[in-house]
């Protein structure tokens, strides 16, 4: 549905846990969206199936489609799959002697990382993440650098080499070197790499990755720095193998170019400029960026993007046209890392989320976080599932038609859904199956609304000031349910919502992000005097900018065209946690510049926390510099059309009895085909709009209009109409 003049065909792929989404846009402006099952055993298979289906829709062969293709952008779950299977190489971790247990100690309660509250509270059953580097493969190097970067103890090279031989004998196939305070002084890490390379050159054992924490993430705090570095080393090989397989596949069809990989920082880059950890959660981040792009084009700067899929519900917040919030505790699998990953919050609420009765607290209905997944899936799918899911409730309430679900490719059995809800929920509670289904929907909608509220409030915003963008397989079915609870005035379902994350990557720029920890006292404690150490601040920025320019130039881009952005992690003196802001200036030249940065920090901090918390008297410290260099965003256009004088009745495909909470009953409800909707059409709820992969549910009291880009705009009617 988008056009990009003067360019060839563009293919965007998003490999998710259940489906591989493919969005193809040709130079002619034609586009198509295809969903195929993800093939976990080899992701390239699902990728190829998607391409074949897309090509077929254009009347082309896969080769013909690829020959006219200029760009392939790709967000992948390879990293996650490798982690799930724990199939990475045997690594050796080099730490400062005396700190070899950094992964086991794991900041104490690492069992909380990636756990939900219910799991965290159950202390009797906790477990910590299993370290990716095993005992016996961790080598303590006798050396020490202090918090000012001074060498306190020189590196004992003889001891290191003796221990090195032992770990290689135990089968080390890669090295991660993470020494204390290496971000201030990397000399020992660099020397250790030299020692490994001289002792074990490539021709001896083959190429083994050697990763230095001071190069991968030169930032303060050794646990997360080490984890990030280990993950990159652990995933490095499998990602290369998977992408090589994909490139081979593409080459066999005649596509000679490279693949751009989507990064969780909000940009993308060539494969060889991509660390494995940067690809984690790339798909949802692409959706976030797509939401920002779509919102900007529509004039909506504040957008809440929501993705309700089969197993999870994800929320991201766009303010003033930008995704600004990074994850505060970024966790990959169960490992807390130090990586600037854009925040997309996920909870276990999707179509496959299981509804259950919590006997511990009076048999109340709960939904999730357990999911029936794709196998056995919802009971209605008939693949052996007996526990009721959100999709089963939607089927019982007739929001989803068993016959047209997923274009009829996956027939649903309403009786199975009915029986699952009856036996597990309705009978124990002595209520009707319909009421039970309605309460399941109400519960999951409320849970999603709550997480949206929390994520928005935590950034200092009010959801009422946002429009809501709904996508994912179940987003359109439930968006009125969760959006209306927040008082959101407008909800948008776009025509490519089933593959929105794939589409989102078509709006992403090439971007690189560089981070470095340096302590700069912005305002002095007590006196609040602005710093005069401009040179220290500027030298850090100089270093990061030079690196960015070098990398962009190396990839064939003109760095002069790059958009440069500096973000700073700042805290009041003594605080544990810093708060990230976008710096209004790249460099300091005067105390006014210092105060400009402080003012930006104070304003953001006060909005985020409270004006009560502002305390410059305690001193103000910069701890991390985050520098982003991004090339201009790709040009894209949405398909546009004007009202043609036809009426919405032409899109009417039938009528069925659908349950509406307001009426507490089933009502005859009109059914529309989304592909038949045209700009200017207006529908008053209750109604159901069916598309190839999604069903939009329009409750009574809401109206839907189709805009010139075929987006469905849902708004609450001013007057509450009675149900038909």
């Amino acid at each position: 549905m988008t056009t990009e003049p003067n360019l060839g065909t563009v293919i965007d792929i998003d490999i998710g846990g259940t489906f591989t989404d493919c969005y193809v846009r040709r130079a002619t402006g034609d586009s198509t969206a295809v969903k195929t099952p993800t093939t976990g055993f080899r992701l390239a298979v699902g990728f190829r199936q998607g391409l074949e289906e897309a090509a077929k829709r254009f009347g082309l062969t896969t080769s013909e489609l690829l020959l006219e293709t200029s760009t392939i952008r790709y967000s992948t779950t390879v990293a996650m799959n490798t982690l799930l299977q724990r199939s990475g190489p045997k690594l050796c971790l080099v730490t400062t002697a005396g700190f070899e247990d950094v992964l086991d100690i794991a900041r104490g309660a690492a069992w909380m990382d990636a756990a939900v509250v219910r799991e965290i509270r159950n202390v009797a059953r906790i477990s910590k993440p299993d370290p990716l580097v095993k005992a016996g493969m961790i080598l303590g190097a006798k050396e020490r650098i202090d918090s000012f970067g001074q060498i306190v103890r020189p590196l004992d090279e003889d001891q290191f080499l003796t221990e090195l031989h032992k770990v290689v004998d135990r089968g080390a196939r890669g090295f991660v070197i993470s020494l204390l305070f290496s971000y201030l002084n990397p000399s020992h890490e660099i020397r250790i790499r030299e020692l490994i390379e001289s002792e074990y050159p490539d021709e001896y054992l083959g190429a083994m990755p050697i990763m230095l924490s001071s190069e991968v993430v030169p930032k303060r705090l050794e646990y997360t720095r080490t984890n990030t570095c280990i993950l990159n080393a652990y995933l490095h090989q499998s990602m290369w193998e998977e992408l090589a397989g994909m490139a081979d596949e593409l080459r066999s069809y005649g596509y000679p170019k490279g693949i751009m990989l989507v990064h969780n920082s909000g940009g993308m880059a060539e494969v060889y400029r991509t660390s494995a950890a940067a690809t984690f959660n790339g798909g949802p981040v692409a959706g976030l960026i797509g939401g920002a792009a779509l919102g900007k084009r529509r004039g909506d700067g504040n957008v809440i993007v929501t993705d309700m899929g089969g197993t999870s519900f994800e929320v991201g917040v766009i303010s003033d046209g930008r995704a600004r919030a990074y994850q505060f505790r970024p966790v990959i699998d169960r490992y807390w890392v130090d990586q600037s990953m854009l925040e997309v919050k996920s909870i276990g609420a999707g179509g496959g989320s299981i509804a259950w009765l919590n006997e511990a607290v009076g048999n109340r209905i709960e939904v999730g976080p357990r999911s029936a997944g794709s196998l056995p899936g919802p009971a209605a799918l008939g693949l052996g599932g007996t526990e009721p899911t959100v999709t089963d409730a939607d089927v019982v309430l007739n929001y989803i038609s068993p016959e047209s679900y997923f274009s009829g490719k996956a027939m649903l059995d309403r009786e199975l859904a009915y029986e699952a809800i009856k036996s597990r929920i309705a009978d124990p509670l002595e209520i009707s199956v319909e009421e039970a289904a309605a309460r399941i929907k109400r519960t999951v909608d409320s849970n999603m609304a709550d997480v949206i509220a929390r994520e928005t409030f935590l950034r200092g915003f009010d959801p009422k000031d946002f429009v809501l963008l709904a996508y994912g397989g179940a987003g359109a079915t439930h968006c009125v349910g969760y959006g209306s609870r927040l008082g959101i005035q407008r909800m948008i379902v776009c025509p490519f919502s089933p593959v929105f994350c794939a589409w989102g990557s078509s709006t992403m720029p090439v971007a690189h992000i560089y981070e470095l920890s340096r302590r700069v006292e912005l305002l002095a404690a007590g006196t609040k005097a602005p710093t005069a150490e401009f040179e220290l601040f500027n030298s850090v920025v100089d270093e990061l900018e030079a690196q960015a320019r070098r990398d962009l130039r190396g990839e064939g881009y003109n760095p002069e065209l790059a958009n440069l952005r500096l973000e700073l992690d700042i805290k009041y003196g003594g605080q544990i946690h810093s708060h990230r802001i976008e710096s209004p200036l790249l460099r300091l030249h005067s105390t006014d510049d210092v105060m400009a940065i402080y003012s930006a920090f104070e304003g953001d901090y006060a909005a985020f926390f409270s004006p009560v918390n502002v305390f410059p008297e305690g001193g103000v410290e910069v701890h991390n510099f985050v520098f982003t260099a991004s090339m201009p965003e790709p040009e894209w256009e949405l398909q546009i059309s004007e009202p043609d004088g036809t009426t919405v009745d032409t899109a009417l495909t039938g009528e069925r009895s659908v349950y509406w909470t307001e009426a507490a009953d089933f009502l005859d409800t009109p059914i529309y085909g989304q592909s038949l909707l045209k700009p200017g059409y207006q529908i008053i709820g209750p109604a159901v709009i069916e598309a190839e992969y999604t069903t939009t549910v329009l409750d009574p009291g809401f109206e839907l209009t189709v805009d010139n880009n075929f987006n469905l705009i849902i708004q609450q009617l001013v007057k509450e109409p009675s149900c038909r």
Binding site: I105, V361, G618
Partner: protein, 706 residues
Amino acid sequence: MSLDQTSLDGPEIPEYMRVRPIEISTATMVQWLKPEPVGEAERSWVEQLEPGDYEIYDEKLKNILDEAREIFVRSGVTNLLTAGDLIVAIYTANGDLANASAGTYLHCVTGCLPVKYVMHKYYSDPTVRVEAGDIFYTNEARYGGIHNPDQMAFMPVFHEGELIAWTAALAHQPETGAIEPGGMPILARSRSDEGMKLTPIKIGQDYRIKRDLLDMMVNFIDRSPRMQEIDTRARVTGADRLRVRVQELAVAKGNDFVRGLLRKLVLEAEESARRRIARWNDGTYRAVAFADTIGREPALVRGMLTATKRHDSIHMDFSGTSPENDSSYNAFPHIVAAHAAIFLFAYPFHDLPASNGTLAPFEWDIPEGSVLNAAPNAAISNSPPLCCIVMTSVTLALSKMMFDSEDRDKIGAPNGNMGSEIIFSGTSQHEMPYADLDGCTLNTEGQGARPDMDGVNAYGFPWAHAGRAPDAEFYEDEYPFLRLFYHLRRDSGGFGKWQGGLGTETAIAPRHVPTMFWSSIGKSTHISVASGLFGGYPSSASPGIWVSGTDLWEKMNRGDQDLPEDAVSVAADRALQGEYLLEHLTRLTRIGYSGDLIVQLAAGGGGYGDVLERDPDLVLNDLKNGQISSWTAKEVYQIRYEEDSLILDETATEETRDSARQTRLKRGKPWDEFISEWSKLSPNPEALKYFGTWPEGVAETPVVRI
């Protein structure tokens, strides 16, 4: 106009806001743990909730609580926020805890008592009153707290002129202006030595903190004024964020809805807890635990619990516990209940609301004059370290109670329960005054073993479970010392069929500055408080080590190979020059000079079951991973293996274990004979100085406090 302090009649209190009158004393505050009676109006609000409202809006409250906790944690200073020693909570209008996001469940008890006190004492008092925009504050154990480092901000929630709820944010702060730095003065002998103690007072009106009162607090805490200033603001911010959200809920759903929802949570919590208790076997379950310090000197202190379970309630009788003493290691009954809550909310009731309703089935019987029910003028700032005896005895007694039930997966041996920390203060390398504690050992104790698996190594902070230990780089960047090592502690977990998780060990040396003040808190130096369960061993004993006047910097600079890398090598190899002192882990404040070495240990968890039943492969695996020594493998677990390859000799292991069992049988004797011999034994009299009479534990002399 002259001064007039005669009492005036305040507004009449509606029934739903009333608090049961009790005699206010340190011995009786625990009575307010019972939920308030439900009046007619409140009952009707509960009944008016529509089907589904309870689950949906309880979930909403949880999200609100999570939001407020996040704001609180991220805006504060104290390391205890990272350790999780905090709570944000929502209460009914009369102070019952509806739900909370709790880093530590201690404060599920301590929070509601000050709220009830304010409603009981001040709501109708025209000199105080409770009005929209008020900010209350307290850190006084006499009024429901645990000890004065725990400071709490709490705010009434009004909507349309009606009080509908209370909100609170509480966190521990390691400085109180006491006679020693760190907030938990070891030398305190009476409450007068313990620093700032604020009864529940109004520190703000019209949503503003009063500057004069904030200055007063900062003045009290002048070892760390910045921490007081920022963290007071952070607490108020956390409580206010909750207030705003609850108020929004009232706007959307009405006051009756909010009041009904909050009461429903308390009622449901109690009913659910009673249902669960009812499925355990009736009976009497006993447990005993020992602490080996009263802070300023090593001493044996006993905690004894007889838990009698009948139908859906449990009577907790602590008779036999040692008498109170003139140290700061004393407690009050509500503090005991709070320490029981640490186990109850994380194990048997982990899936129930963090509400005082959940604790309603418990009756507390704690003898006056015991160390757990001390006189009101007692120093209690170290009540948490003392109450390790409560944590252990409650864990043991209730685990036995639940063993033969469908809740066996909710039991475990005691966690480390040590609370090991170095406390430091002075002027930092950044020329800022500081007073803080080392969260590295505090948050990395071992978890007790479970019925089907080992305890987790370095699992967290037993008082708050989910304690986060900051990185070594964080501390060294902020404070003037260098950490020499930070390890898991070999052999520290209690042995058993399932092994207790390991604790950690660390050593720090002052650097960048000539001196720093330091002290430390810990226990289990002479006898471990982390007992085993069902035959499991207790965790290992944990001494403190101090080496003063070392040549550490010279040796590091030279690149000497023999620098110690763990606690055993510090003490055994003595590669550093200097004066060595092996001492109790609780140490009084002293000056540390650049290069002195302070070694601190964190406890492992208790073991579970018979060591001879541990899978030999697991033993070998622990040996390979360095988690146990070869001595332990051979002498405790009785396995045999090939020394170089570490391959198990199955036959020899079986024979050795059979032989060990035979030896046990030979040691066996009839019950009466055993009791007769056992009763003649007595600890070294020196250890019994604060124990009370042996073996009864009855006070021998009255405690005099000045």
